[in-house]
Amino acid sequence: MNVNQHTPMASPYGQPQPGYGQPGYAPLDGGYPAPYAPYNGPTSAYQPGAPPQGYSPFTSFPSKAVAANPVSDLSSPLDLGPVRGPPVSGAPPVSAPQPYNQYSHSQGEMQNGPPPMTQAPPRPAVSQSYNPAGMNMTGPPHPSYPQHYGPPPTMQQVTNQMTGMQINSGPPTPAGPGYAPPNSSQPPVSTAYTAAPPTSYAQGPPPASSAPTQPPPPSGPAAPQQYYGGPSPPSQQPFNSSLPPTSQQQFTSSAPAPPPSQQTFPPSSYSGPMPPASQAPAPPVSQPQQSFPPPAQPPFSAPPPPASQPPAFAPGPPLQNQGSFPPRGPPPSSQPGSFPPPGPPPGPPPTSLSSGPYPGQMPPQQHPPPSQPSPYHSGPPPPGVQMPPTSMAQSNHLPPGPPGPPGPMQQPPPQPGMPGGFPPQQNGAFGQVRGPQPGYAGPYPGQPNYGAPAPAPAPAAPAQKRLDPDAIPSPIQVIEDDRAKSTEPFTTGVRGQAPPLVTTNFQVKDQGNASPRFIRCTAYNIPCTADMAKQSQVPLAAVIKPLATLPPDEIPPYLVDHGESGPIRCNRCKAYMCPYMQFIEGGRRFQCGFCSCVTEVPPHYFQHLDHTGKRMDCYDRPELSLGSYEFLATVDYCKNNKLPQPPAFIFLIDVSYNAVKSGMVNIVCEELKTLLDYLPRENPEMDSVVRVGFVTYNKVMHFYNVKSSLAQPQMLVVSDVSDMFVPLLDGFLVNVNESRQVIESLLDQIPEMFADTRETETVFGPVIQAGLEALKAADCAGKLFVFHTSLPIAEAPGKLKNREDKKLIGTDKEKSLFQPQVGFYNTLAKECVAQGCCVDLFLFPNGYVDVATLGVVPVSTGGSVYKYTYFQAQSDRERFLNDLRRDVQKLVGFDAVMRVRTSTGVRATDFFGSFFMSNTTDVELAGLDCDKAITVELKHDDKLSEETGALMQCAVLYTSCSGQRRLRIHNMAVNCCSQLADLYRNCETDTIINFFSKYAFRGILNSPTKAVRDTLINQCAQILACYRKNCASPSSAGQLILPECMKLLPVYLNCVLKGDVLLPGADVSLDDRAYLRQLISCMDVSESHVFFYPRLLPLTKLESDSLPVAVRDSEERLSKGGVYLLETGLHLFLWVGASVQQELLLNIFGTPSFSQIDPSMTSLPVLDNPFSQRLREIIDSFRAERSRYMKLMVVKQEDKTELIFRHFLVEDKSASGGASYVDFLCHMHKEIRQLLS
């Protein structure tokens, strides 16, 4: 701020306002002008711009929803359909489509099901039917898929297939009819959607393929269910079976996978949905290829490819499928095993599948509504699930159900089952569905058969589990594939190129754009127009981690000194010199790549141009050739036009009874003695210039004079906490080396002094005020480390009361619990930011401490909150100390201002993270450390051109820990597209999820969590629907087709939705939720990724040079005989199966008996065997990778603690009511179908 103000023209920041206000922007007008205008007089313009309004997530969401873009999109998108790519035309689709359709149907149902109930049912159904299919698929399919897909590798193909699938879904429509009136409306697709199931079905069914598709589903479902009930493995088989049907089958199979969780989702229907949801549909092509190779995934991947693949698929898949089919056969058999019908299902599946499934799906959809709600939202799920499954199954099958009769075939069985088990609930709920079912039944004779399987749903529940997984898009597969292909260093020179995933280890070569370690975008090919962007609903955002730490083999940004006049900048928009500046007139001027303004090159910077128009010194100057670099800032960029003082660290330690008793005070004091030697410094050779100060407090503050000349520290008690001030100046902030003895003496004595304290009350506001005042008095920026234990109830500013009220959860008032209790801390935060006072808060609560309120200042000042609930010295010491060490040592910038400039046509409209904004453009950070990321949302305010692409420059002005004022510049260029397909080809799901989570977590401050969840689901559905409509081939609407690069969107989104923040379990405290909410707000992509989708490693075999391939986060993936390591970025679990091999136990724990494992251990015994060594290495490397130390928790299977562990198996249904992946995929499909109809 200050800087800005001071630096008039020159400094970008300072001037910004004026500068911006100035002509430059005005001319620009367009979006920019408006935004910037505000600063200047233009205010009016700005206000109009009111980014906020437009910004407001809700509005946008609604718009999306309302927009029903689908249609419009469809039109254009259709063209895009090929989008993914592979332009492959949808031609192939036809054949493929059908199969896909089937899948899609299932999906559709699922989605239709959206209503929880329905979904649930659908899922089950799907899963059942699908499962069978899936099962088959997985087993055989994989192979087959791989092959097929393999060949088809072309993404396009896959997509085509996917599209085809979807198209197929069209066929399902028939099914739709079967389902219910809606179904009939294949044409009515839309209606169907509204109706949900019906339509989708309808669509699906209609086509001939639909028939097949349907059948598959049914068969799938039926089989699956049954299978599920019995053999989980069958699921794969089922898939195969489904696969057999044709490509569709494959899809179905994929679909099945998802079902597992949903159970009911009759495999068939599910399979449809499943695939779509995850990968199948869209991704099909690409994914298929990738995923397919793997087992379950293949199916999904296959689906995606559809478009292109379709052809391939149709031919290939079928073949494969067929090949697989045989397997299917088996699966069915297996299914049968579980369910009498099985036999029939298998058989029917293939043929009837299409029809069968659809019917089933249809019903489910309707049912879903009722059931869904529950499943997705909360408790309902369980019942819903089963019910849903059934319903789903039914729905899918239902149609079949009605077909029930047909059931005899394959469906019949299902139906029976359905009716039997599920009917009650679902039926009741889905009354309509049934209706449809009958219809379906009629329509699809074959369906009946499937229906039969569907019935299985009841058993479905189990069946679902089986169903799954392998058929739907697998995160693990995606991650592994990306790893496999990222062997070359990633060069940033190519505009619009998506970097490898965050889970991949890769090297970056900076060739003009910022490394993905600094900036990751949701899309690297952004729409040219606002309309397109709106239509697609794909968020345009960048996650920026300005001070990210680079691996040792990458060179940190160079420091550029442009001399006394400061960095060269565009006259108008104040963008800093960067590779996008075009030098003209022989090098005498340059044209700004952002605003096109032409600026004179200062004489001292002049350089001739070469024949290509580049400056001769282009490669000698980082600012002309690199994406990231730093400028040395001049005094104009400093607060009060004064070069900054070196920063200070102030340690404020709670010494109330709890703090002392828990051992915290002791540990902190002990640790600080050594830690103070590791204060951040830029030059490892030099002593850190950071000064330190110490304060302890309970309900009064104790300052310490540790001046080097004193023999003993002096303690200054300030009891007047209502009006905080700093009692001393000289001797409070000292150089560690000079005052070492006094400091050590102090740290020795603090624990003693308060050993007998009986004071239990604490203050908090004054603590921060004290630190702030101290920094003010010393006229420097700095960081406060606050070690705090309890709710500040002592009489003082910022006093809080306990307001934890579980009854409010789920109500409209829930949001208030995330808002600060008092306004005091907001004001305080503002003051802190103005002074450059960053606050890191370490909490050691034994109860409610109101993290939502206490965290306000840390969050607004770029600080961190660490929480150690029920801290115990023994078990939490390591975690705390490592966090503290890292927090103290990490490089940090102070008094930072970040500004994101973009080329005309887009502008940064919203920011998420730990910071403070006093206007709409400057992100102010009292402190910015290497772990903090800021997510920036971009919005169009004009058109972009495909030729120039879109540029973004993030400039962070900060004071380094050595007290130097600097500007760090990150440049990023992305492509622009006029085709939606291009957009969908270049997105990064992990980043989108990062954005969505932050967006949603901010949303819960203002809206009920349910509304936020719905909004997310809605937007996600719109994104996928848009793709489906515009990029997938126009064939059928009922099929779930996912863009290759977004095929994980549903699974990840589900993880966000069912997280503790949005869907708290009964045992999750309000503090935990607030803590996570704040924590995530500044996470970068890699952390948010692992947070939402934990890494689960099987530890049966460890190789010295590589990590074992992770498995998906589902209980089904755990083997009783194995040991698994699960990492979330916050937690680290070692899960030990009940029948684990003795050898493993000996290797890891040094004990031969499972029962002798001490579940309270926090570190593994150091054993001298390669396995143990390697395991500990792995654990260490994981910890090193994360910004927070993860405490190891050993979880024994069937132990109490397993509940906690299970919470992180995010593909499963969660105890708090979160949907399983499969269920959610079905639901998503339903939503999409609704949108499409």
Binding site: V700, H702, F703, Y704, L710, Q712, P713, Q714, M715, L716, V717, V718, S719, D720, D723, F725, P727, L728, L729, D730, G731, S745, L746, Q749, E752, M753
Partner: protein, 766 residues
């Protein structure tokens, strides 16, 4: 006359009392016509080495509103074991312990020579003495160093069981915890915030808010006192405190150019008062405030921190241009009253070249009996020795200080008490002997003196209420009894009772007697006290006019003259010096503010209203001794004519001790004759005043400013401003005398003054 002088002297020695009239007019009317009221200077704790205290408690009159103490003037019926109260005439039986009394076996209090008697009260716990140092750290390095040394030294002077505390202040106020080992702890208060006593106690952790509410207020202070970390016995924290004082640093907050350091004197005092209030109410305690400059921030601020704004002068005050004056005064008054209520006294040791705000803060000491010491620097012997003398001890080895004194006055029916002027506050105790006519601090028969020393002297004013037509029976006596309860410095509680009786005289028939019973010295001091008391609240000229009128009326009443004939005017011996006292009083800094800063005026007045008669007289009319080869040292007239070249003059104004070398002497001294063996006598002459001065310095509190100067020296002004300007540039030649030194002043000389006085006295129109 000699009899009266002896009588007066004897009474002073025995009872510490000097009455303006030693015969009292028997009616109100006559009394008022005497101009000088029936009044006395009373020194409650006059040192009486010959008076051992008795170890029992006094016998009180049983009448509820009387409670007078049995005294030698009471009528006693030894047979009936009954005594009659000589104030209310209540007949009281002796307590059982007096069963054995008879004419030959009388308790001490019945013996005439024990008109003043001291009782030791055994009941009640003995509380330790408390010394709380409140130290300004906004000092020059060298000043602070000197102060630290003085403080460290003082620790050795304190009795081991005395409690000490330390508060330092600058921009912040720090209350140091003394009981801790290792880390030195202190509680810090912001210097700008006015805190209530309760807040302060809470912040110091002296009360538990919850507990206070539960248990009520009384028990808490006791508990708190027991565990008070801030006041600790000297013997326990001696080392600690010495180190602590040694480590005291100057206030570290930067003082920018053109600013005064921020000095939070107001808050520091408030904290000190609050601390004692919460821990040791009604226990003798001494807050010793050391300041090196004016309070510049927070409540009680006297001047802003901008150096360009000078501190208020009399000129500013008269023009109502002193921004902070009223507010600050009010603040300190409130504080003083609180402190007085709790029996704690506040000393102010102000050492600075400029003013330090004594004007505003004077009430702190005036109301609580504390000292005010004003000096230029802490690094001067004036301060160092004065401070040391605070802890001086008497013949018993006890401090010459007493705490928590309450003085009660009882009068016989013909008299009522109008008020007191001195280091006391009213206890608002109404009673039958309280007059409605207030003089000084009136409306009460009890006054509290939080701190007393043997020289503390109150001016007491009485009123004769006997009506003219109801004359007192011949031979009747008026009786006044002073009952002073206090905490002796050895922590005993004692009661000293002085019972004084004077004869009534009919003013018409016995005017001569009354005239001859006039104690002009006491009267001058008492009138001066009244004048100074008035000057605190009235304009200077009004006070002078009032004084003049009183003088004229007195002269009219007792002078012998023929009307309209000034030359015929004569005053009897008992009044002869009175006009001269008044002359010097009019010129004294107690009434004249010209050439004095408000702080100085406050300082002078402070001391004037508390010293005993001798010292007060010195203040009014300084003593001048002459040393020459012409004879032994002799007192000479305080007149310009006394300033001769061949004399050394020693002037004692109480506040200054000036040794003035006449022109010739100064030349000799410069020539170094005193170094020559043959001029040994000259050396002795030079030494003689020094020795005498030393003698005075030994006993005087506060230490006077010692000035050694000579003819023409700049410091000679101290002398020149005091002497009667009998020779000035105006009359030098008319007088034509070759002796003396002309004073360059337009002030009237004593001669002119007397001429006017005579003229006015004999004028019938005056």
């Amino acid at each position: 006359m000699s009899t009266y002088q002896e009588f007066i002297q004897q009474n002073e020695d025995r009872d510490g009392v000097r009455f303006s009239w030693n015969l009292w007019p028997s009616s109100r009317l006559e009394a008022t016509r005497l101009v000088v009221p029936v009044s006395c200077l009373f020194t409650p704790l006059k040192e009486r080495p010959d008076l051992p205290p008795v170890q029992y408690e006094p016998v009180l009159c049983s009448r509820a509103n009387c409670k007078a103490v049995l005294n030698p003037l009471c009528q006693v019926d030894f047979r009936a074991k009954i005594w009659a109260c000589n104030f209310c005439f209540q007949r009281n039986p002796f307590p059982p312990s007096y069963a054995g009394i008879s004419e030959v076996n009388q308790p001490a209090e019945l013996m005439p020579q024990f008109s003043t008697i001291e009782y030791i009260v055994q009941r009640g716990p003995s509380a330790p003495l408390i010394f709380l140092y409140v130290v300004d750290t906004c000092l020059e390095e060298e000043d602070l160093q000197a102060l630290k040394e003085s403080l460290q030294m003082s620790l050795s002077l304190l009795p081991p069981n005395a409690l000490v505390g330390l508060i330092t202040f600058g921009r912040m106020v720090q209350v140091h915890e003394l009981s801790c080992e290792g880390i030195a702890k202190s509680y810090v208060f912001r210097g700008t915030k006015d805190l209530t006593s309760k807040q302060i106690q809470e912040m110091l952790g002296l009360t538990k808010p919850g507990a206070a509410a539960q248990q009520g207020r009384q028990p808490v202070p006791q508990e708190a006192a027991a565990s008070c970390k801030f006041l600790q016995p000297v013997h326990r924290v001696d080392m600690n405190l010495t180190d602590l004082l040694g480590e005291l640093q100057r206030d570290p907050w930067p003082v920018t150019q053109g600013k005064r350091p921020l000095r939070s004197t107001g808050v520091a005092l408030s904290v000190a008062v609050g601390l004692l209030e919460g821990t040791y109410p009604n226990t003798g305690a001494r807050v010793m405030l050391f300041i090196g400059g004016p309070p510049t921030q927070g409540p009680g601020m006297v001047v802003g921190d901008e150096l360009k704004t000078p501190i208020r002068s009399w000129h500013d005050i008269q023009k109502d241009n002193a921004r902070h004056l009223k507010k600050a005064t009010k603040y300190y008054e409130a504080m003083a009253n609180r402190s007085a209520v709790n029996g704690h006294c506040i000393d102010i040791y102000a050492c600075a070249l400029d003013q330090t705000g004594l004007l505003e803060m004077k009430c702190l000491s005036n109301l609580t009996g504390g000292h005010i010491v004003m000096g230029d620097s802490f690094n001067t012997s004036l301060f160092k020795q004065t401070f040391q003398r605070v802890f001086s001890k008497d013949y018993n080895g006890d401090f010459r200080m007493a705490f928590g004194g309450v003085m009660e006055v009882k009068t016989s029916r013909e008299l009522k008490v109008c008020g007191a002027i001195g280091p006391c506050v009213s206890l608002n105790s109404k009673g039958p002997c309280v007059s409605e006519n207030e003089m000084g601090v009136g409306g009460t028969s009890q006054w509290k003196m939080c701190n007393l020393n043997p020289s503390s002297t109150l001016g007491m004013f009485f009123e004769v209420v006997n009506q003219h037509n109801a004359p007192v029976p011949q031979g009747g006596r008026g009786v006044i009894q002073f009952i002073t309860q206090y905490q002796h410095s050895n922590t005993q509680r004692r009661i000293r009772v002085s019972t004084i009786a004077r004869n009534w005289a009919d003013a018409q028939s016995q005017i001569q007697h009354i005239e001859s019973s006039f104690d002009q010295e006491a009267a001058a001091v008492l009138m001066a006290r009244l004048g100074v008391f008035r000057a605190e609240s009235e304009e200077g000229p009004d006070v002078l006019r009032w004084l003049d009128r009183q003088l004229i009326r007195l002269c009219q009443k007792f002078g012998q003259f023929n009307k309209e004939d000034p030359t015929s005017f004569r005053l009897s011996e008992s009044l002869s010096l009175y006009p001269q006292f008044m002359f010097h009083l009019r010129r004294s800094p107690f009434l004249q503010v010209f050439n004095n800063s408000p702080d100085e005026s406050s300082y002078y007045r402070h001391h004037f209203v508390r010293q005993d008669l001798t010292q007060s007289l010195i203040m009014i009319q300084p003593i001048l001794y002459s040393y020459s080869f012409h004879g032994p040292p002799e007192p000479v007239l305080l007149d310009s004519s006394s300033i001769l070249p061949d004399r050394i003059l020693l002037m004692d104004t109480f506040f200054q001790l000036v040794i003035f070398h006449g022109e010739t002497i100064a030349q000799w001294r410069k020539a170094g004759y005193q170094e020559m063996a043959e001029y040994e006598n000259f050396k002795q002459l030079l030494q003689a005043p020094l020795d005498d001065a030393q003698e005075i310095l030994q006993t005087r509190f506060p230490m006077p400013r010692y000035i050694d100067t000579e003819h023409g020296g700049s410091q000679a002004r101290f002398l020149l401003s005091k002497v009667n300007p009998s020779q000035t540039h105006n009359n030098l030649y008319t007088w034509g005398q070759e002796t003396g030194a002309p004073i360059l002043t337009d002030d009237v000389s004593l001669q002119v003054f007397m001429d006017h006085l005579k003229k006015l006295a004999v004028s019938s129109s005056a």
